[in-house]
Subunit: 443 residues, 2 copies
């Protein structure tokens, strides 16, 4: 796994050089590489009109790392988000939800996001809320807005006090370098145990209007989002009414960040934020319009890309696994079974070992808590039919299973023969490096 | 971790020599050692009147291993069991349930158990049922009983056909060496990835009658029993009416095998069987008697010992963790939270690393799916008060957490301040060896 970066089809030599430099920079600290995940190239990340980004190295946990990020939104931008359902949700999550609710209640619009890494400000009680507010109070006058118009986000260690003074000290530098083409720096600025930044851009034409979308995400462990993921931000330059954006963020999250799992641990800080800067020419006022459908498709596609990038960079991941459960009575039961497979440590270690010990997958289906008639269940690994009518397919040959298990990308497909619902979950394998990374992460 | 066996208080020199020989025998194949788990000593395992045990080396998966076990029960014995709720429950589990049901419907009593390791006979469909029945048909005439009077059990790899001929070929040897003091051999005969046999004996006096109880268990991975565990057998020589024994087996399982987890994977073959041989002088006909309460206490205590032995020998385990959740509204919600902590790979790797990264425990409490007011939650590691009213206890010092985390036995205690219910779950850490064992298990 170590050594050269992934070969990168379609990359020009300058981009390749940049990617290589990137790898050389990160390799000493993070020897693990993501599974077939394209390394974002700064020059290919498109600025989105109406949003500027600045960053600082505030030394929150370690020196010489981008760890404070400010995203400034144009007047007229709308913002919607989905957040973790973890009851121990972090102080910044609570404040972000409050500030978004204030907008809906008629308050001033959101005009900035403030992100720090190195400390999650979770499990910090009342003091955590006060600390998060103190950072907003410090940033607001520098941007000429109210503190309530800023959404705060934190990611890092739980149960430790937020180093407020360090963050405050870093803010002027972040504000000073606000600019439109800082997306690559933003993607780097939100990394924790990630081995590479995650970012992507798309351009779509909808009803004759060009819309630019750019998004970033982070996360590699404590990943089993429940309504959202660790951190994901996606901005585009159409103008979208607030109620429409709120539908859109849920729709996109449900097909992307809500379909991934690395270790089944739902974070205290999951947040996925959609920003419609309104600086472009497209306007979307209704979810019943053709424009909405096209915009939703583009947002969802980019969200899936960003969510998959998190799994591909899963802590210690060497394989990217797609689990599709079909012919269920409901989407919910399909998801339950897909997550049961995706969370099983025995299934995940078998993938790591490239060992077609596929009875483990059946066991995970069996304990998913769905009242199945197992005699109707069929299961495939890519195109190899493994289990037929609840037992081993008589035509299944071990060498065929072995061939698929050796691949770095594998699809598990399960058919329940109960109905027409389906669901897909993306996950990775469980390797020695997962244990190493999480045994060492804090120390 | 490697090297000498655990020092064993109270062991005489002969017993110690036997234990050492045992370790030297097993070490080359299984370099992992169980956490503070007493090595059973053959001479200390008490025969139970009314039950004889025979074993054979049938070469089911590997040569020169005890892998077939026959337990013959006296006339008048009663038998009750609890079995996995995995929908892909193994063929032998289905047959055991059928045969127990036949007894309740007025059929002949159960007179023998047949166990094989090396193959789970799960995910094997109709052929699996036929194969299991073929082994019973072969054993029945050798014991002079009907096939329906035998309960079959299998443990090992899933999705592979049971090697019926090998098992049948091994049966005469197992029948030939049937004897009362074969419990240590029985404990060895049901091992798979276990690093040591698990067995224990107790003697209690109830209403002036001496009752001898001996039990064995196995399992080290795919352990999150749902009604029972991989395999557990406990026999005693009182006479217990069938309906009473059925209450007793559930009561004991709920406080022992249903309170453990290693990796959250519920096996296809979990079975816990209670045998009352009836060969002693105590008779228990009602659950409302003082005798029942005393017998239940003894059975439960030994069941907890056998269940904990499985966790202590958890694949790759280096720590034994007790998780107690108190002051809940219901036992169910306390168990939900305890399992959420016990299944979190991040919590388990922190234990492995002796890293007091205790925010991970709060995160796991938060995503357990219980509608908690986190501001009321308090958490301790042994006697160290870590989280107070939902945040970090101001008096908590990192070095105190560090001191506890370095221990090989740790108790996590959570208080919810919602009610009077409580639950305890036993688990282990997640180490490199768990990944190694499960990446290599089949090959």
């Amino acid at each position: 796994m170590l050594g050269l970066p992934h070969p990168h089809a379609g990359m020009n030599s300058a981009a390749r050089a940049e990617a290589l430099q990137y790898w050389l920079f990160y390799l000493p600290e993070n020897p693990n590489m993501a599974v077939n995940s394209p390394i974002p190239v700064a020059a290919e990340l498109k600025p989105v009109n109406g949003i500027e980004i600045g960053y600082a190295e505030a030394g929150i946990k370690k020196p010489n790392r981008k760890d404070v990020l400010v995203m400034k939104l144009a007047e007229g931008a709308t913002v919607a988000g989905v957040f973790t359902l973890n009851r121990f949700c972090a102080a910044p999550v609570q404040i972000s939800k409050d500030n978004l609710a204030a907008v809906k209640a008629g308050g001033k619009p959101i005009r900035a996001l403030l992100v720090n890494t190195g400390n999650a400000n979770a499990g910090t009680g009342e003091a955590g809320l006060a600390n998060a507010r103190a950072t907003l109070d410090a940033l607001a006058p520098q941007l000429g807005i109210d503190a309530q118009q800023i959404l705060p986000f934190s990611t890092g260690v739980i149960l430790e006090p937020l180093p407020v003074e360090k963050i405050k000290a870093g803010l002027p530098a972040a504000v000073a370098n606000l600019k439109a083409d800082n997306w690559f720096n933003a993607a780097e600025g939100i990394m924790t145990t990630d081995t590479q930044p995650k970012a992507g851009s798309r351009t779509v034409t909808i009803a004759g209007h060009t819309v630019t979308l750019t998004g970033i995400s982070k996360g590699a462990g404590m990943i089993k989002p429940n309504m959202a993921t660790m951190l994901g931000y996606l901005a585009f330059d159409a103008k979208v009414a607030q109620p429409v954006l709120e539908v859109l963020v849920k729709e996109a999250a449900d097909q992307s960040f809500n379909c991934i799992t690395i270790d089944g641990d739902t974070s205290t800080n999951d947040s996925f934020i959609l920003v419609a800067t309104g600086a472009g020419t497209l306007e979307v006022d209704s979810v019943d319009s053709a424009e909405y459908r096209e915009l939703a498709a583009a947002v969802t596609e980019l969200s899936v890309f960003l969510a998959q990038a998190i799994v591909r960079d899963g802590e210690g991941a060497t394989k990217f696994i797609t689990i599709t459960v079909e012919e269920g009575e409901s989407v919910e039961e399909c998801r339950k079974i897909a997550y049961s497979i995706g969370h099983s440590p025995l299934v995940k270690t078998a993938f790591f070992a490239s060992d077609p010990n596929l009875g483990r997958i059946l066991a995970a289906i069996g304990y998913a808590g769905v009242e199945l008639d197992v005699a109707k269940i069929n299961m495939w690994l890519d195109d190899v039919w493994v289990a037929k009518d609840g037992g081993r397919n008589p035509d299944y040959r071990e060498e065929d299973g072995q061939r698929i298990m050796k691949q770095s990308e594998i699809t598990v497909r399960v058919k329940l023969a109960r109905g027409a619902a389906a669901a897909t979950v993306y996950t990775c394998d469980l390797s020695h490096d997962y244990v190493s990374i999480n045994a060492d992460y804090r120390s």
